[in-house]
């Protein structure tokens, strides 16, 4: 059993139990992200993920204390032209220069009252070996007032040309990964296929447990109605992504927003309102997904995962067979 309710400890703040499904906010692909965040504040009371890049470039303004825990991503995603698996941009993203000093400046001004997890600096043009990644992440300075702050290590590929994180290279450095509340990987970089990614998450879980039992694993960019369940079964605990702003979650599927509107709303509903309804629907759907995961942990029944439960169970069984568990 890889899936489990684990404890996220953020400094001296009250601990939070996983699984955690994070609605992420990013300017990449969403020029109105500040307005989207403002609109969603009324609905959200749990954890969120925002980007330091967006704060630095004034795409977002601080004031996230409506959230119970804030994950501050460094901004590598926004600073790159790279895509995540669910992207469908209709406009060019212009990445601006982004360096560790800019991230340090955002952190130094951070004064949120909500517990905050600071993700290690990440930039596609700034890569290094895994041991150095660990040391750089440890050296990240948190705000002095930060009894309720903690760090997360995002494991990246080791070179600019490499597209993947290779577990064989990561494993020797795991014993050094102390002082982190969370260990993260991006969905895109952890494998070439869904099975490959599940296997690698499960292996990472096994290896982490040897040195840091039950430290939560965060899979960046892994939020949708099926993948999230699969990574959860592989032993991951925290899931985020922008799919919830791009599509609609409906009865086990991640669908085209206008299809959701046609099936669930009066046909004369203005498409702009359909878009807003998708965001609120998706957030509520994510909360239900979290409950479904907890129900699964309670009785082991895959039926809690909804109409695709047979496919989900099959993927899990295949993963277990592949890793010989």
């Amino acid at each position: 059993m890889f899936a489990k309710r684990r404890i996220l400890k953020v400094g001296n703040a009250p601990s939070v139990k996983t699984p955690i499904l994070l609605p992420s906010f990013s300017s990449k692909g969403f020029p109105n992200i500040a307005n989207i965040l403002k609109a969603m504040e009324e609905y959200i009371s749990d954890e969120i993920l925002v980007s330091a890049y967006d704060l630095h470039f004034k795409e977002l303004e601080s004031g996230f204390d409506f959230a119970s825990v804030i994950f501050l991503d460094s901004g590598g995603y926004e600073a790159s032209k790279e895509s995540e698996l669910s992207e469908t941009f209709d406009r060019e993203h212009l990445a601006r220069p982004w360096v560790p000093e800019m991230y340090a400046e955002v952190i130094s001004k951070w004064s949120a009252l909500s517990p905050t997890i600071f993700v290690s600096f990440d930039h596609p043009k700034n890569r290094c070996g895994i041991f150095e990644q660990v040391e750089r992440a440890k050296a990240l300075s948190l705000p002095p007032s930060g009894g309720h702050y903690a760090k997360s290590l995002l494991i990246n590929p080791e070179t600019v040309d490499s597209k993947r994180v290779h577990l064989a290279k990561v494993v020797p450095a795991i014993s050094k990964m102390t002082d982190f509340a969370v260990i993260g990987v991006t969905e895109k970089e952890i494998g070439n296929s869904m099975l490959d990614r599940m296997i690698n998450v499960a292996r990472l879980r096994q290896e982490l447990n040897r040195h840091h039992p039950d430290i939560p694993i965060h899979v960046f960019g892994s939020l949708d109605t099926i993948s999230t369940y699969l990574y959860f079964l592989a032993g991951a605990d925290i899931f985020d992504g922008l799919t919830w702003l791009r599509y609609a979650f409906s009865d086990g599927d991640t669908i085209y927003r206008h299809s959701f509107g046609t099936m669930n709303l009066p046909l004369n509903t203005n498409s702009d309102i359909v878009e807003g309804r998708c965001w609120t629907n998706n957030y509520q759907y994510m909360q239900q997904m979290r409950l479904n995961m907890m129900k699964y942990l309670s009785d082991g029944a895959f039926e809690h995962f909804g109409k695709h439960h047979a496919h989900i169970k099959n993927a899990f069984d295949t993963m277990k067979a592949a890793i010989g568990d």
Binding site: A39, I273, G276
Partner: protein
Amino acid sequence: MGGGGGGGPFVGRSPEQLVKQVRETEDETAVKEFETELSGIIMDLLASANSRDVGKAQERLDDVKDALEGPLKNSVDTFWRICR
């Protein structure tokens, strides 16, 4: 449903106004869902009432009538009638 509504959720609309409009559609949907659910319950109840055993019900009513006529030593007119 294709294309945009008015060019984007925040074109000519503040985040607060969007939330208000979204809430209104949520309320409308909730009322419609409630009405559909209520109508389903009423239909089920009517169906179960209509599917009662008419012969047996008439038999029971006749038993009641006989039981009343005994002590009264008079005939009793019933004001009910089972319709088929």
